[in-house]
């Protein structure tokens, strides 16, 4: 869903609320849910689908 040229709208997978995302969001990008603060991963852009992001794992880093 597209609200205007600057933002996209998606459903928060945890609460079901509609949330806005920057228009330049990438598949694989992590955003913080403005509703719960939970990390959400962008799964697809057309349509915009979000899922709860994977938990931090021990070998993540630089």
């Amino acid at each position: 869903m597209t609200s205007d040229t600057d933002t996209l709208v998606a459903e928060d997978p945890i609460t079901g609320d509609e949330i806005e995302l920057p228009a330049d969001v990438e598949v694989g990008e992590i955003i913080d849910s403005p509703v719960t603060g939970t990390e959400l991963e962008v799964i697809s852009l057309d349509p915009v689908v979000l899922e709860e992001a994977p938990e931090l794992e021990e070998d993540w880093g630089e």
Binding site: V27, G28, E29, I30, E57, E58, D59, W60, G61, E62
Partner: protein, 306 residues
């Protein structure tokens, strides 16, 4: 140029990189390693016509295996799996630096709780216990007493993963409340900053305050040698100042009479450096990616083009 980006999570760093690549007209193939399979002579990942692949995997294990497989197919990949192997393991990292005569904190590895306790006692207190794999300052312990050492070693022994039974013990370097992060491409610095904190861990990921830092000749030399020691690439070289005069102003260098290189990172994050300095870090990184693509294709580096 067609550039592959290996990833499993798009951080701000990857967004900066993707934006710079696209702005220059490069075709970008994002490769989510979680969705791919890697066979002995081919992969499901669309890598056949890529000029170069940039490893930006957040997960060290995925980074090491994915780059190793791509390299075996003859796909140009940066950083190389050899560099990854050295940098991903703190023990190998320390050995590589020591073998290249790059000053690095005194370190011992032990495989049992008793031997690790002996190592800790021989360093004295405080000293530092680190996981051999890990980042962002996680699971690092500054050990101030034998009681603390015994408790931490017992906890590590019961954590489960065999890597926690590889006890990496290191001298505590009394740095002047900051360390230095240098982003370098094949030993040439792109930008540098200090990371300051009242906490002994000064990582930006731990909330360390970042300030641009001018490298002196000695630091420049050590960055180049540290990069060479691990095989080169796009690297985060971390240094600490040593021999600091406690009465000197840290902002003026703290009176340090030298540096020690504590580690080199191979999937380096650069958003903090980009924000802390005037350097256009993603642009400099893409400059280097273009040069490497030409170099790895066997061309003249002067001819790198879109």
């Amino acid at each position: 140029m067609k550039v592959g980006i290996l990833y499993s999570r798009i951080r701000k760093d990857e967004k900066l990189l993707l934006s710079e690549l696209r702005d220059r007209g490069h075709d970008v193939e994002k490769i989510d390693v979680r969705k791919q399979r890697f066979g002995l002579d081919s992969t499901t990942a669309a890598v056949d016509d890529l000029d170069i692949v940039v490893d930006r995997c957040l997960s060290t294990s995925r980074s090491l295996y994915a780059t190793r497989f791509l390299d075996s197919y003859g796909v140009p990949v940066i950083n190389s799996p050899e560099t990854g192997d050295v940098c991903a393991d703190k023990a190998r990292n320390s050995l590589a630096l020591a073998e290249a005569d790059v000053p690095t904190p005194a370190t011992e590895v032990a495989f049992t709780k008793d031997a690790a306790l002996d190592a800790i006692e021989s360093f004295g207190y405080p000293c530092v216990l680190k996981p051999v794999t890990g980042s962002w300052g996680r699971l690092m312990a500054k050990i101030d007493s034998r009681n603390a050492a015994e408790a931490i070693l017992e906890h590590k022994e019961t954590l489960g993963h065999y890597e926690h039974k590889v006890f990496y013990v290191q001298e505590f370097v009394d740095k002047p409340g900051r360390d230095i992060r240098v982003l370098a491409v094949d030993g040439e610095p792109v930008a540098a900053m200090t990371r300051s904190s009242d906490h002994w861990l000064t990582n930006a990921a731990k909330g360390g305050e970042t300030t641009p830092f001018d490298l002196d000749d000695r630091a420049l030399e050590l960055v180049e040698r540290a990069s060479d020691a691990v095989g080169g690439g796009l690297l985060g070289v971390d240094l600490m100042e040593v021999g600091v005069d406690a009465d000197a102003d840290p902002a003026e260098g703290g009176g340090a009479d030298g540096y020690t290189v504590h580690e080199v990172n191979h999937t380096v994050e650069f958003k903090a450096l980009d924000a802390a300095t005037d350097v256009d870090v993603p642009a400099r990184v893409v400059d280097w990616v273009e040069t490497k693509a030409t170099e790895l294709a066997g061309g003249d580096t002067e001819e790198a083009s879109v």
